[in-house]
């Protein structure tokens, strides 16, 4: 498996262990992806795999709580990536981040298997709530 960029694997949220459940963030290197990663600081283990292939592989590991698709992906359209992830992991919570008011993109993401779509900005709080629920 390709090595992920783990940005927050420590005990920042209550002294957990390295086997804490993992949040995977997928997205090209962009301001939005970085904003999402910042919004998720404080969660035990957030990883940002370097490729889609790695992201899909990580979704198959036992301790993954959810997948957050933060931004467009250079290698593949988001909907296609979503479809693949959903086919592989039927019950995995998958959250897609969109620009505000992009209803068409949100509907398309839901049709392709997203659990929820969150518009950013403004709603980092909504993202944190969804991720916290998935971690439970």
């Amino acid at each position: 498996m390709a090595g992920p960029d783990e940005i927050d694997g420590g005990a920042a949220n209550g002294g957990g262990t390295r086997r804490a459940r993992t949040v995977i963030v997928a997205g090209q290197s962009s301001n939005r992806t970085r904003e999402v990663l910042r919004a998720l600081r404080g969660f035990h283990s957030v990883i940002w795999p370097k490729s889609l292939e790695a992201a899909l592989e990580w979704t198959g590991t036992a301790d993954v709580a959810c997948l957050v698709i933060a931004d467009d992906l250079r290698e593949e359209p988001v909907d296609e990536f979503l479809r693949e992830a959903r086919e592989l992991h039927r019950n995995l919570p998958i959250f897609v981040i969109t620009d505000p008011d992009d209803v068409a993109e949100a509907v398309s993401a839901m049709r392709h298997g997203a659990t929820a779509v969150i518009e950013i900005p403004p709603s980092y709080a909504a993202l944190r709530e969804e991720v916290a629920r998935a971690l439970q």
Binding site: D102, V103, V107, M110, R111, A116, V117
Partner: protein, 205 residues
Amino acid sequence: MKDLPQTVFVVDDDDAVRDSLRLLLKSAGLACEVAGSAPEFLAAYDPAHPGCLVLDVRMPGMSGLELQQELNLRGATIPVIFITGHGDIPMAVEAMQHGAFDFLQKPFRDQELLDRVQRALARDAEYRTRLRHTDRIRERLATLSPREREVLDLVTQGKANKMVAGDLGVSQRTVEIHRAHVMQKMEAGSLAELVRMMMAVAPRP
């Protein structure tokens, strides 16, 4: 019983929108029925009637989202296409999470709506075909005797006649006879077909 024609049901409180949608759908050769409110639609709706529903989100009284939830409570499977002039992402996400087929913002091109309606009708037709197929299988299952049902369950688990005979405490010849009856009653041409039938009616996890 004569098959009911596929119909596009339109529910919108705006007379002008209802009329224009009716004209558009009729011009595309589609049967269409309109209602000015959710209760009016519910009063006339027959779940056996194939088709799809084009539904305005915001209506006085019962909203489109509330109507969708009511239909879900009633176990209705009609594909719902929401249309709205004031849609936002949370509203669209809620509608889709509750099983909406699509969510379309006004203004939209006529063809956009027609394309979605055609896809929704195709999905409804596919679902009803699958339902008829599973209903037929269940009818055949109901004709099996308790012993035949036991044999069916065991052979579709992959057990050979000898093992089935051991499990049930009967002779192998008796199992063969029951098995032949099962194949005949279920109208199955092979064991693989029988297994597919049982998978089609198995409860989903």
